[in-house]
């Protein structure tokens, strides 16, 4: 299904039921059994959120009752709701059975079971849906005998309901019921229904089975998994509906991980891997994307040799997929593979894929790659990076889209943290500073942003000797935006510089900018001056500070007066 995004108002604000929602919450706070009557009527309104909250509050109240009070006050309420005329009260009743059952007498228990049975075969699908969704929870509080005698027949009936929406809720209940029953009963009591659900005509039911597959696997245990779930999983991976295949593909890694150890590898190689190979060339991109996000995890399960022989071709195929999301999902999970076979094996095919993604037409794809760059760089090592990826990172700095330039700047900072200041000085700082002469003012500004980001990581020496001169030179730039960013940069890198530089070089430039013709330049220069004054004070407090220039302060005050 394609979801078409549609704006719309929510329930229109009007008095009536919407205003009952806060009351339902308030009553929850009061927690008095006298509060039950209003909650009972709230549990019958047509607005679902109000009913749900009322039911929640009633559940909490039931915990506060003594067993006697439960029978006297609470259970009659549940009975009334369960026999209500309108389906709204009956749906609310479904949520209340499990909380009052454990602590009441056995006659009352029998009544409750009877009511639940009736609701499971109610005329309206809404009530049956509510019953099906609470079936698991109710089963958890029942005695084992009653689970076998009552719940199983209800479960089977709901799982064969004519309404798709009821059947798919029964699948969820299947997990709870399977966990509660002893292993030997599963085959007769639960498995037939589960097999039926996995082959249901409605794709939505099959989707639920796929979605809950890991829970089902844990609940039924290794023997049944081997005999039943493996073939079922294969079928889901080959399902005719793409949504189902995608849901199953998402579970591949978890399913394989939870297979019994003794023949895990054999099962995967014989049964699962062939299906996975098919999925790599699926027609639907969501299926491939779902597979790509988990397929790398198989390498840890299968080990080095199998990974190289069988999985590696799949990874490479997905790396070349036309859909960018698929390629991204592969790249983001490289660490699993790295553990097993080492990144060198992949690097030759990896690089073209990375380059392609880095130059993708969609900027969000480019952005995602930038975010993985520090991780990749760390895994690949500095030589590889310098040789192959450096140009990419520089190219991003002059991308058309601002978000990319910003991310690229941040990326550089992380790289410097990884590889160190010396590396930065040799490889990236010259290029960054070279951009200061670019005819495009946006690129010149990027230089300043990079300097902002890198100064701390690079350290005082590099900042003062190499970066500062460039910044100061740009204070004469003809574009005002550049000039006020110079002021901002000086403010940012001020703390990194030594006080001599601050005094001798920064101060005069800031003073000059403070007299600029452009209002914004003047403003930011002023801001920078106030900030650097604070830095001066900091230095003054330190052991061997420079002597403050008394005139400097007076000049600043005078200029401050002019601007206010």
């Amino acid at each position: 299904m394609k979801a078409a995004a549609a704006e719309g108002g929510g329930p229109c604000r009007a008095d009536g039921d919407d205003s009952l929602y806060p009351i339902a919450v308030l009553i929850d706070e009061l927690r008095n059994e006298d509060v039950q009557p209003p909650l009972e009527s709230l549990a019958t309104v047509e607005e679902t959120v109000v009913r749900d909250k009322a039911v929640e509050s009633l559940r909490k109240i039931s915990q506060e009752h003594s067993p006697v009070d439960l029978e006297v006050h609470f259970e009659p309420l549940v009975k009334r709701l369960a026999s209500g005329d309108w389906f709204t009260s009956r749906t609310s009743a479904c949520g209340l059975f499990s909380v009052c059952y454990p602590r009441v007498s056995s006659t009352v228990k029998a009544e409750i079971r009877q009511h639940f049975r009736t609701l499971c075969s109610d005329d309206t699908p809404m009530v049956r849906r509510a019953a099906a969704s609470k079936l698991g929870e109710f089963a958890k509080v029942l005695e084992l005998d009653y689970i076998k005698s009552d719940i199983i027949s209800l479960f089977t009936a709901l799982a064969s309901d004519e309404q798709d929406s009821v059947r798919l809720l029964a699948v969820e209940a299947c997990v709870s019921i399977a966990t509660l029953l002893p292993q030997e009963d599963l085959e007769t009591l639960v498995m037939p229904t589960l097999r039926q659900a996995a082959e249901d005509k409605s794709w939505r039911v099959r989707y639920m089975v796929a979605d809950k597959f890991s829970e089902l696997q844990k609940a039924v245990g290794p023997e049944i998994t081997k005999n039943d779930l493996v073939p079922a999983f294969q079928n889901l991976l080959k399902d005719c509906e793409a949504e189902v295949r995608a849901a199953a593909a998402n579970k591949v890694k978890e399913f394989c991980e939870n297979l019994p150890e003794d023949n895990r590898e054999q099962i995967i190689m014989t049964h699962i891997l062939p299906c996975v190979k098919e999925l790599v060339s699926d027609t639907n991109q969501h299926v491939k994307s779902a597979l790509a996000s988990v397929i790398m995890g198989l390498s840890t399960i299968l080990g080095k040799d199998n990974t190289i022989e069988h999985l590696l071709p799949l990874f490479l195929a997905q790396l070349k997929d036309e859909c960018p999301e698929v390629r991204l999902n592969i790249i983001s999970n490289l660490d699993c593979v790295n553990e097993v076979i080492g990144i060198r094996q992949l690097s030759q095919s990896l690089l073209p894929a990375i380059v392609e993604l880095a130059e993708d037409a969609k900027w969000r794809v480019r952005l995602a790659i930038i975010e993985y760059m520090p991780l990749l760089a760390g895994q690949l090592g500095v030589e590889f990076f310098d040789e192959k990826l450096n140009t990419l990172c520089m190219a991003w700095l002059i991308d058309h889209v601002y978000a990319i330039r910003e991310a690229a700047t941040c990326n550089l900072m992380k790289l410097v943290e990884k590889f160190g200041a010396e590396w930065a000085q040799n490889t990236i700082v010259p290029k960054v500073l070279g951009m200061a002469n670019d005819p495009n003012y946006l690129h010149r500004m990027t230089t300043l942003f990079c300097i902002n980001a890198l100064s701390e990581a690079c350290g005082q020496d590099i900042t003062t000797k190499q970066m500062l001169p460039v910044v100061l030179k740009m204070s004469n730039d003809q574009v005002a935006n550049v000039r006020f960013n110079v002021a901002k940069s000086l403010q940012k890198i001020g703390p990194v510089l030594d006080s001599n530089a601050l005094q001798a070089e920064v101060k005069p430039v800031l003073e000059k900018l403070a007299t600029d013709t452009d209002m914004d330049v003047k403003y930011f220069a002023q801001e920078a001056i106030s900030a650097t004054r604070a830095v001066f004070a900091l230095h003054a407090a330190a052991p061997s500070p420079p002597v403050l220039d008394a005139n400097f302060e007076k000049q600043m005050e005078q200029q401050a007066v002019c601007f206010h």
Binding site: M1, A6, G10, S165
Partner: protein, 453 residues
């Protein structure tokens, strides 16, 4: 091809006609019990009529006043306002295209109404009590002067005159690029579909910001467009089946269990074209204007320009029954094309036991066909020709043979008086006919209820 003779067994009583404001009625729909009847008009208003409860025991004799199952105005509200699409610089009409009632879930009633773009869910509820005795407000709602308050009282609920309140509960907007022509509520009680010219969406009644697209027949290149969706409906019992009709005269039955996107139909219903009768207008008059499932879910009723057809769901090669509504117009197709009448979209309805079908025509005529005998009857919804509570005469269009008194010649048919919209009570023989701005309600007194076997 002669017109069928009057049937003396049917005794229709014309109850009353209702004149709404000068606006043309665009849709009519009974609710599931038949106690409420909703009409929508071109001005975006919805008028709901309620059936007065019958007096105990026998039916009133014709001519006596007093309530005897009559429909009176229950509530009126403005459902949609005229709107403007700024992106395309197009006006969005407020005309109500369809109204569908939801199955009743509590004392209030819910209905969906739609114009070309937006579907709204309305709650119709009665209020017969109101709180009185506030401390800070007086009876008219004005704030009291605090100094006059000397004691504290608890407000109580007092009975008042019955008030009918209508409030919008959900607004489902921005789901459609083209004009919405149908809505249909699913038997699962929580979803419904809406169809426009090229797409069908499925909505959940509780979720307004998302809908799922289940059919999309928009071609990649709009120049390849050859057919559009004209009507769509869910099966009355099976939550996974729905049918949609096209402008090419085909019906497609889709099973939502098979796949998420139902572009590929499960069954295609198409009558093979008779090469002998092919003409320039063949394709236009084959366009299906309305499709309805029978109450038992076994048959489909479709209306194209000249005929009404009944299809068996189990047979897709052609209809099982074809009824000529106004075959005499076949020779007039050229002039009908000139005045655009050939594009009129007539609705069709089943009766409660699926034994009779009904559809509209021109000159304020409408036609009923008895499926067992195959015979049809022409009736007229026109105030001048009948008095309230009088038996409705059958009419005839003269097409040859012996001319009888009261016959109308084909050339004297008034094509501006079209009966496009109609509804049949879900269990009784009561029909509601919309004729431009008038609503006519007819009731069969002799056989008021048809017993469903």
């Amino acid at each position: 091809m002669g017109e069928d003779a009057e049937s003396p067994k049917i005794n229709h009583t014309f109850l009353r006609d209702y004149v709404t404001e000068a606006d043309v009625i665009s849709t009519v729909e009974f609710n599931q019990t038949g106690d409420l009847l909703a009409t929508g008009d071109k001005g975006g208003r919805v008028v709901i009529f309620q059936r007065e409860t019958e007096s105990k025991g026998e039916y009133e004799e014709a001519g006596e006043t007093g309530d005897s199952g009559e429909y009176n105005v229950y509530s009126t509200f403005q459902s949609h306002e005229p709107d403007f699409d700024y992106l395309k610089s197009l006006e969005i009409e407020e005309k109500i295209n369809k109204i569908r009632w939801l199955p009743q879930q509590n004392a209030a009633h819910f209905l969906l109404s739609t114009n070309d773009k937006t579907i709204k869910l309305w709650k119709v509820s009665e209020r017969d009590k109101r709180p009185e005795g506030y401390n800070l407000k007086d009876e008219e709602g004005r704030i009291k002067d605090i100094s006059t308050i000397t004691s504290l009282q608890v407000p109580v609920l007092k009975p008042t005159d019955l008030m009918v309140e209508v409030r919008p509960r959900r607004v489902f907007s921005n789901g459609h690029t083209y004009h919405v022509n149908s809505i249909s509520v699913n038997s699962d009680g929580e979803t419904y579909l809406s169809a426009d010219d090229l797409r069908i969406n499925m909505w959940h009644l509780g979720i307004t910001d998302r809908s799922f697209n289940i059919v999309d027949i928009k071609p990649a290149n709009m120049e390849d467009l050859t057919e559009v969706i004209t009507s769509a409906e869910f099966h009355p019992h099976h939550c996974h089946l729905f049918v949609y009709s096209s402008s090419k005269g085909t019906l497609r039955l889709c099973d939502m269990r098979a796949s998420a996107l139902c572009d590929k139909h499960t069954k295609l219903f198409e009558e093979p074209e008779d090469p002998g009768s092919r003409s320039f207008f063949s394709e236009i008059i084959s366009s299906v204007s309305d499709v309805k499932f029978s109450h038992n879910g076994r048959y489909l009723l479709t209306r194209d320009y000249l005929t009404a057809k009944v299809w068996d769901l189990h047979m897709d090669k052609g209809p099982v029954e074809t009824y000529q509504v106004h075959e005499y117009l076949r020779s007039k197709l050229c002039s009908l094309y000139e005045n655009d009448c050939i594009f009129d979209k007539f609705e069709c309805v089943w009766n409660s036991s699926d034994s009779v079908i009904m559809t509209g025509a021109y000159n304020s005529f409408f036609r009923m066909f008895d499926r067992e005998t195959g015979r049809g009857v022409t009736l007229e919804a026109w105030r001048e020709s009948s008095k309230p509570r009088a038996v409705l005469r059958t009419r005839r269009v003269y097409t040859g043979g012996k001319r009888r008194r009261g016959d109308v010649g084909v050339d004297s048919l008034d094509f501006s008086k079209k009966i496009l919209h109609m509804a049949w009570h879900p269990s009784e023989n009561i029909i509601a006919i919309a004729a431009t701005n008038n609503l006519y309600i007819f009731q069969d007194r002799v056989n008021p209820e048809t017993h469903v076997p």
